[in-house]
């Protein structure tokens, strides 16, 4: 028995920092409370450095239960950056809403550590472990604004459905184990290709796995919890959740399906196809009717999950799967950047006691705060997928790989859904620039402004030259 | 499987059951006698020589007592609770070896019902079942005192179960097995109380709380809770709770003697292997005496202190003991 923790070193750093901060935060006096977010961010930076240092460092570790490759490095870099962004998002917000407890950052770190483990998981046991590690802190964070009823309600809903979906996922794992007598992805693949596996059971198990992760990722028809939870959770948590939790689920799912399940592609491709189309359409159509910006972004997030799911559809096709993976993970990065920018705007506009969350409250903001308005315009354009923003390239590569895989109808559905989405995304911008409205004072906070500014610049500049980022995504190959 | 083997199992099982029930009966007698001596009283002295028939008389009396069921009690659970409580106490010693192998005219008789390599796990599993009986008894009685007593008992038992479980990890680490038979054999070089003194002390404190004995008899604190979880029980159902408590005392003493005090080991065992059970029961009697002694001398401790002691002192201490033991075992290269 040998111990080699290097493959999960970033995970160890983040989880260790979370443990240390949990205790330190209890013991140091109130005037040192500002150290907690600072140290949390520092630990994330350290993890980022280690993670990037592991690029092109392909190896499996811990009895082959985890594996690092460029795919996991790329995904983890997104997670860690989104963690840093989430801290910037939260710092001012939780102070002014009176929920400034050190546990906020600790739970966030735990959740991120779950994500980091998730993208490296080469064994279904680790997938489950990581999924729980990432979700359980999110349940608590959702209910963090505790005496507020909608926060408590959201936490309970999220917890119950999350626990249920974990059950489904675990059942899928159990079925796969029963069918193949392996929980490792390689083992499952080899059992299937040797023909020793019970194929109907493998299909059912894979489907259960898909449903379990689809629940977490808010894929239609398992999305019903998402709008309520996104609305009830503290806004800074919602921002974190809409990127991190969703992305981590998909990253794990992608690895599982691409590595272990090509043999069942015949059965499951059409299911994926159907789910992706449904998610894009329902998410975008339901978003039109929303008056609350958090709900609108929640439905938008569901729709974006649909786009990401498109990349899964050709998972059985060896010829184009690399393109597909690259476009999906590129899209993930694009979505994360624009999403954090948009959520930072929402956090900045939100007023005490939940005011300033209706889309009507945005009326006139663009004229009084031109920079904020322009930034929001950029994020919305990126969500729609219009040039010159990064979102355009995200959708471009995604649709290209789908068309390459000969799923023309799916690509058309995606285009149609994007068209629909233009209406509600642009409505926010129209509201900001072309309407007069209540005089809402936007919070001025250098962290939030910085987050908005950096995201907007990134969306624009990377949109002008997406090559390097896409090249990185294209290098982020899954290793078998 | 030949019928002889099954017959052997049945006979051994009956011996265990009889010894547990007799152990229960004569522990009450033993306790009353010892308490009386310690309090300079005479104690029971009427029924038979040395009042040896006293437990029998008590049992017969209870059979002829009326059994009451409170009107609003949950009847099924109320009747089931004492049964659930007593069964674990009767079966927990199944894995304890009473001796080595006897050779009776060529017939090899092992003085153990079974020797499983999951013995310690079995003990922990079974002892935790009895918590259900007590909780259910308190809850189903529809009586404030019973419910409070049941809750207190539950909270106390689960709190001390942690320390109890961890205190057994130390000996398992030293022995490298969970089988009690092997643990006893390993103690030929020295009882585990010598290698694991901290674990032994934690074990003995935790089992006092586990069987709700003084000074941790909060669940039955007469002054505030009348009789705790069995307030509403009378007749033979009460007898079952009584039996469970004393049988558990005997059982945990037997397990403690086996894990820490060398079990059936003792002098002259190689000449006369039948001495094994004798040595075991002598050790059990000594431990029971300690139980009674503590009851006679120490006052009941307050409930918040009881919980604080369990969680803040005993549990961390047990954890530290396990880790220190592990470090020592690792660096001694496994004895």
């Amino acid at each position: 028995m040998t111990l080699d923790f290097t493959p999960i070193l970033p995970f160890m750093i983040v989880a260790g920092a979370a443990l240390a901060l949990l205790v330190l935060d209890l013991f140091w006096p109130v005037r040192l409370k500002w150290l907690t977010p600072l140290l949390a961010a520092a630990s994330l930076l350290a993890a980022l450095v280690v993670e990037l240092g592991q690029a092109n460092y392909l190896r499996a570790g811990l009895s082959n239960m985890v594996i690092i490759d460029n795919f996991s490095v790329f995904a983890n870099a997104i997670f860690i950056c989104s963690g840093i962004a989430a801290i910037a998002l939260a710092y001012d917000y939780i102070q002014r809403t009176g929920i400034n407890h050190g546990e906020y950052y600790v739970l966030m770190l735990f959740s991120i550590s779950g994500m980091l483990l998730m993208s490296t998981a080469a064994d279904l046991i680790i997938v489950f472990l990581a999924l729980e590690l990432l979700s359980v802190p999110l349940y608590v964070l959702t209910g963090f604004a505790r005496p507020r009823l909608d926060s408590e309600e959201a936490a309970l809903k999220y917890f119950l459905l999350g626990a249920f979906s974990s059950g489904v996922l675990l059942y899928g794992i159990a079925l796969l184990y029963g069918a193949t007598s392996y929980t490792s992805l390689h083992g499952i693949l080899s059992a299937v290709s040797r023909g020793t596996a019970d194929m109907p059971l493998v299909v059912v198990g894979a489907a259960f796995l898909l449903v379990g992760v689809a629940f977490k990722g808010g894929v239609v028809p398992f999305h019903m919890w998402a709008p309520d939870v996104y609305q009830g959770a503290p806004t800074s948590v919602t921002g974190f959740m809409s990127v991190g939790a969703k992305a981590a689920g998909f990253v794990a799912l992608l690895r599982i399906f691409v590595v272990a399940f090509p043999p069942v592609a015949v059965e499951l491709t059409s299911v994926m196809n159907f789910l992706a189309s449904l998610t894009m359409l329902i998410g975008n159509i339901a978003a039109i009717g929303q008056r609350n910006i958090k709900r609108m972004l929640a439905y938008s997030g569901i729709a974006q999950a649909g786009y990401m799911l498109m990349a899964f559809v050709p998972f059985g096709n060896k010829a184009i799967i690399n393109d597909s993976v690259a476009s999906m993970i590129f899209y993930l990065a694009v979505y994360a950047i624009a999403s954090f920018g948009a959520w930072a705007v929402v956090v900045a506009v939100e007023q005490a006691e939940g005011r300033g969350l209706d889309i009507d409250d945005y009326a006139g903001l663009g004229r009084r705060y031109p920079l904020l308005g322009v930034a929001m315009l950029i994020f919305m354009l990126s969500f729609i997928g219009l040039p010159p923003t990064l979102g355009f390239w995200g959708k471009f590569y995604l649709f290209r790989s789908v068309i390459e895989g000969n799923y023309i109808v799916l690509a058309l559905v995606g285009m149609l859904a994007s068209l629909i989405s233009a209406y509600y995304y642009l409505r926010v911008v129209v509201m900001m620039f072309l309407h007069d409205g209540a005089n809402i004072t936007v919070r001025r906070n250098w962290l939030l402004s910085g987050l908005v500014g950096v995201s907007a610049l990134a969306v624009l500049l990377l949109g002008l030259m997406p090559g390097p980022l896409f090249q990185m995504a294209a290098d982020a190959l899954l290793r078998l | 499987m030949e019928p002889g083997v099954i017959l052997e199992w049945v006979i051994k099982s009956v011996v265990i059951l009889i010894s547990m029930t007799a152990g229960f009966a004569y522990t009450t007698w033993y306790e009353r006698k010892v308490l009386a001596k310690m309090q300079v009283r005479i104690g029971p002295n009427r029924a038979g020589p040395f009042a040896l028939l006293q437990p029998v008389a008590d049992g017969i009396k209870l059979i002829f007592k009326e059994e009451l069921v409170p009107a609003e009690a949950d009847k099924l659970i109320f009747n089931l609770a004492p049964v659930i409580t007593v069964i674990p106490a009767l079966i927990v010693t199944a894995v304890v070896p009473w001796g080595g192998v006897l050779d009776i005219n060529g017939f090899k008789l092992s003085l153990a019902l079974t020797d499983t390599n999951l013995a310690i796990l079995y003990i922990m599993t079974v002892t935790s079942i009895s918590v259900y009986g007590i909780t259910l008894a308190g809850w189903s009685s529809n009586n404030k005192y019973a419910m409070l007593g049941g809750l207190r008992a539950t909270a106390q038992m689960i709190s001390y179960e942690l320390a109890l479980g961890l205190s057994l990890v130390g000996p398992v680490l030293v022995a490298g097995t969970m089988s009690l038979g092997k643990i006893v054999e390993m103690q030929q070089g020295g009882w585990f109380i010598l290698f694991q003194p901290v674990a032994a002390i934690i074990y003995f404190i935790a089992i006092i709380a586990e069987v709700n004995r003084a000074p941790f008899d909060m669940p039955e604190a007469e002054q505030e809770l009348t009789a705790g979880y069995h307030t509403e029980y009378s007749g033979m159902k009460f007898a079952l709770f009584f039996m469970a408590e004393y049988a558990k005392m005997v059982a945990v003493s037997m397990i403690g003697a086996t894990v820490f005090l060398g079990g059936y080991l003792g002098p002259f065992l190689d000449i006369a292997p039948w001495l094994g059970p004798v040595w075991l029961w002598v050790k059990v009697a000594v431990l029971l005496f300690v139980f009674i002694w503590i009851r006679a001398t120490s006052p009941r401790i307050r409930y918040d202190r009881l919980m604080a002691f369990g969680w803040k002192i005993l549990f961390p201490l047990a954890l530290a003991n396990v880790l220190v033991t592990a470090v020592v075992v690792a660096f001694m290269g496994g004895k």
Binding site: T2, L3, V23, L26 | W9, K12, S13, V14, L17, T21, I63, F64, K65, E66, E67, L68, P70, A71, N79, V83, V86, I87, L90, I91, V95, L113, I120, L121, M124, S141, N142, K144, Y145, M147, L151, T154, A155, I158, L162, G165, L166, V169, V172, L173, G176, T177, M178, T226, E232, G235, M236, L240, M243, M307, W311, K312, F315, L323, A326, V329
Partner: protein
């Protein structure tokens, strides 16, 4: 393997039989003289008031949750202890990490006052 547990099965059957026979004896031989007052809850002679089962202090739930948390850990310790000598120092490090997480949990619960009984 199964053989090790069959004798315990025999013992359990006999113990269940005993545990059922004993209250049946009381049922058969005990007198039954019903008086309404006998079936009222016993409160040391006072007239009982209010429901017998009522809301339970949240402390008990807290203890139960903490117990589950730490009991799982104890269960993890046992198989580890059995194979510890074969695995040696790596197992020590791994269990040390595990115990560290648990201890942090205990410190947190302690400092937050979950162990206070007020």
């Amino acid at each position: 393997m199964v053989n090790e547990f069959l004798p315990i099965g025999v013992l359990i059957i006999l113990a269940v039989a005993l545990a059922i026979v004993v209250p049946t004896l009381g049922y058969l031989f005990g007198p039954r003289r019903y008086v309404p007052a006998k079936s009222r809850p016993y409160e040391s002679g006072m007239t009982p008031f209010g429901p017998g089962t009522r809301r339970v202090s949240v402390r008990y739930y807290m203890i139960a949750v903490l117990f589950i948390l730490f009991d799982v850990e104890v269960v993890f310790f046992l198989p580890w202890a059995v194979v510890f000598k074969e695995l040696g120092v790596p197992a020590l490090i791994e269990m040390g990490l595990f115990a560290l997480v648990v201890v942090v949990g205990l410190v947190y619960a302690w400092k937050k006052g979950a162990l206070e009984w007020e």
